[in-house]
Symmetry: D3
Subunit: 241 residues, 6 copies
């Protein structure tokens, strides 16, 4: 499996990861996650109420919103607030983040609280949605800890860690953690979300030109398992601090 990646990384090597907790001062959880040049601010905000469809059921809710600063990318994008609507891509991503993180938590133990996960990309270089999920887990854990510290919930509603990474087929070779240079020319792009026991929470694979085979799919899943294991370890480390 030899391929020269634009970043000169090995095929199974993810980018440098940095997780900074308490990045901003107001949120119950606030994390800056840096995955190479991709940088996302993930905040977790607690609100002592639930959406209408859950009222009175004694359970909580976790939901996510995603955004990119207009110049987080190589050329400036229109601001979604100014255009008056979120793109299909944005909605797809924030639905994915919300679903993924709800897998991390027992909503009944959360009580009638809502946790909003805001993932705002300040610099993009591929893999923003997976970085968002990995960072949002840490923010979520901090927000849960703050609820516990205030005595607002009993017990620990966190069920498992959740992390995500992208894999793909680049110049015929399965590779881990695509950056933008790879992502924009890869034959296949697959985002994988797992828990800390390698259980699959979500997998979304798309052939961008040629189709991909079951064998390639398996090779990509192997890489994802390796990468996510590393992310889970890093989350644990960050939360220890």
């Amino acid at each position: 499996m030899t391929v020269v990646r634009p970043s000169e990384r090995a095929y199974d090597e993810k980018r440098a990861l940095r997780i900074t907790r308490n990045f901003t001062c107001h949120a119950e959880g606030s994390v800056l996650i840096e995955m190479g040049n991709t940088k996302v601010i993930c905040t977790a905000s607690v609100q002592n109420s639930v959406p209408g469809f859950l009222r009175g059921k004694g359970q909580g809710w976790v939901t996510a919103e995603y955004g990119m600063l207009p110049r987080s990318t190589g050329s400036r994008m229109d601001r979604e607030a100014a255009r008056g609507k979120q793109s299909g891509r944005t909605q797809e991503i924030q639905r994915l983040i919300g679903r993924s993180l709800r897998a991390a938590i027992d909503l009944n133990m959360l009580g009638e609280n809502t946790i909003y996960l805001d993932c705002d990309v300040i610099q993009a270089d591929g893999g923003t949605r997976t970085a968002s999920i990995t960072g949002a887990y840490v923010a979520l854990a901090d927000a849960v800890a703050s609820l516990q510290a205030k005595g607002l919930i009993e017990g620990n509603p966190l069920l498992q860690q959740v992390a995500a990474i992208s894999v793909g087929v680049y110049q015929g070779v399965p590779v881990l953690d695509l950056d933008y240079a790879e992502d924009s020319t890869a034959e296949t792009d697959m985002n994988v979300v797992m828990d800390d026991k390698q259980g699959v929470i979500e997998v979304q694979g798309t052939a961008e030109g040629a189709t991909f085979s079951r064998a390639e799919m398996n090779a990509m899943m192997d890489l994802a398992e390796k990468g996510i294991a590393e992310l889970v370890a890093a989350q644990k480390e960050a939360l220890k601090a």
Copy 2:
């Protein structure tokens, strides 16, 4: 692998399929696809122009839109035109249909034409997005044939057939082609799009409660291969008529 499915189907048995061509009279391709109780009208409309970002490049475009009649479902949903926006789910689905069908066609050979694929669900019982893709392929083939018949394009831009089916884990057992009764309680739901040579075009799997294992993922992919092979045969049959 024993499970009693609400429909009493075997675990690897898809629902009855019916493809009716020329369902409405104006479109270049018009198909009613019925997959059990799920019924979708798929039309392909040719327009002799391309979107702005492709103008002057000598290639064509294929795009999709998806909708559900308000009472296609068990309880009435709000009409998206009245609410003034398409839901995140709708956008996600129509982006998936468009991506999937663009894999069926050589956009350069299409010339500066756009084919709109409209998938409108008139009755829903699970699997509407996969039925839309399978039906839209037939409508697309008819639209291409009409372009050829009118001498508007040379050669055959169709590269391969494209079909899709859902698979999932229901009561611990991987099953093929979930209907609504299964879908709403399944542990995992996965939509698979393939070409007629079992090449994967798109895979989207979501754990709804428990995570799923690599072994379950493989079992689901096996079922999807079987189901899609049957769909591809049915498409071929329908297009022969």
Copy 3:
């Protein structure tokens, strides 16, 4: 009164009418009405509540929404859900359908229930709004019957049948039930809604080029009376089945 109509129908001859009940499976009333090549799915959905402005008044409500599939017409129209708003024409039509059908029912006897009438055109060849009204009445009657069958209302709130047809002046001659070929070139187009006793519920006549005279207006009303009497008979027949 001699005129050669594009369809070769006599001046006072309406198109072939077909009413199919129980067209889809979820709605309390579901009707496919075909008036020549115009085909509309009319569903009636019951909801056990009323809009805010009626809450607590002990009466019910009937309202309508109208839509056209993008390729129900000769050339594809933009999807209103994608454009983010309903056109003025759509709103005008659905307000007309709602007003017309409210004339069919005693809202007090309906109790605090709302019946939504969704009229979705799957194939258009002129006269879609009048076909919608005629079909919606049958769907409404089925929905009322379902409320009675479930014991949710007492007595019969239906006051009278309601049906509608278009008339116009085509090449100087008043004609009944214009199809698209006539409608697009007619001098005058008039939509008439009546009950089963020839009482007028709504009349909307528009001169498209020349004005029309009182005499022409009377001739058109005579044709409308004849056509609606036939529609009323067909509704009765369909509901007997």
Copy 4:
């Protein structure tokens, strides 16, 4: 035909009419029309271009927009600009005004000019749409005169005068020119638009409770003819000044 109208007018008596030209200073035509307590500012604005669908065809266009000041009515209505959309009623009315006034003019003789008719109700007491049409004709005539005076068009594109009035059935009796007190309780409300030779341009009649008969419809049309003849005379008078 005896009925005591809230205003004590005779059944065939319209309200006091006042037409003030040059009401505001910027528009090519600016008219304040007062029909009893209903007061509408009608302006005609000339723009030296046409909408996209008419470009290059050598003809002009006339279109209308309608609005009500929030407190033109008994209780304050939401401002449509703040709500972010025009109601169905507003759209229906402005489409009616536009259609009606296009009947007044030869669009080919207008050249590639657009005339916008803005009808803004500053005080409402029933009949705002018909007052708008009657007033807009005078503003249109002034705008045409200004085009002629500037040598921008040759000849007179005005084909005929256009005026409108409401009629209805109030307490069982057909009456002319309903004010709000009558309109809100009338059994039938009908708006009639005619030219100066009693040719019908548009008729829109709605039964609000009971249906209406052909005889009542004829009686209402007779009243409309009388009322519109008076309006046409008043327009002529105003334009002479």
Copy 5:
């Protein structure tokens, strides 16, 4: 300080002012204010409730909305209701009007009532926002009087008069009350809102090309004091009538 103003007014001379109360018949306060050629209808509407954020606090609210008729200006502007949103300028102005008039009233003494101030420009010639504020005060005073007359509030919640005027630097010279000809070419434009004791409520100054100095700012404030004193006297006079 010599400058020839387009209107030939002295540098410290405001335009002719006319305040007409009871301009329309439905509102609790209705004022036409004319400041030279600028004409604004200001109505005050009382509603016996408060916005959600104030409910149950025993206090009232005053809020404002602003609009311009499409042809109030030299060339026709798009109608905001048709475009589907209020411009940034409109929102800025209505927020300013609301803030300014809330300074006139003790919201606690108003009880749980809301007063809507609608300022609709029917003819514009510069200074529409300041004329709106000056006129809205008179409408507000009338609305308060009507609440008192009906016994709905006790005591007088009006704290002070509020009026506003524009000042600027035109051809190097500070001048009072800019009309459109001046405003569109002035170096600086400043809007000043004061109470009847020369207390400043709001000041908004903008350099349009060159910056302005502290000395110019002081000169403009002097002119504003003079102008507002005259406006306050005129309001008093109008309210006496």
Copy 6:
């Protein structure tokens, strides 16, 4: 002038300022400005074209957009992109930023280029609009330098530095640079924008409860001059690095 400020700063003492250039990697100018706990990312993006209204005039344009991350504040705000529109406050602020920075530059010398200034608040503690202006100037200067370095413009279009600060009356005393604790209870809040020669570009002062006097206004202007002189020096320093 003694007042104990929540931050224990002297009445004429601004907060600690830090300006970090090249904060993100894609934009032509990217600045993180920190004014105490207020943190704003200001980017300047160059686009080689101008808006429609300037096309073909040989001049450039500078415009600004402003946003706040949902949890930049003490309690989470709704995301404007999700709500589908920018608030009046947001529009007011971005209009102010754009106007202010256009004063810094000779648009003719900029050629047909547009510079977008995006000011995104990641942490808010009062004074976000003034910090945005001060930071945006530095980003603008970097973007201009990049245009010069690429030879895309000749000469230096920068006319002067632009900086802004808030002043106010807190507990009866004029103070410099209000933080949130002061801003939310201050009697008066005034934002001042000046160039590097103390010329006033914009002043916006609002009485929040009591009015303010000419003397207070002068005292606040004195403080603003002092504060802006310090900001201008810091900008100069940052740009030297």
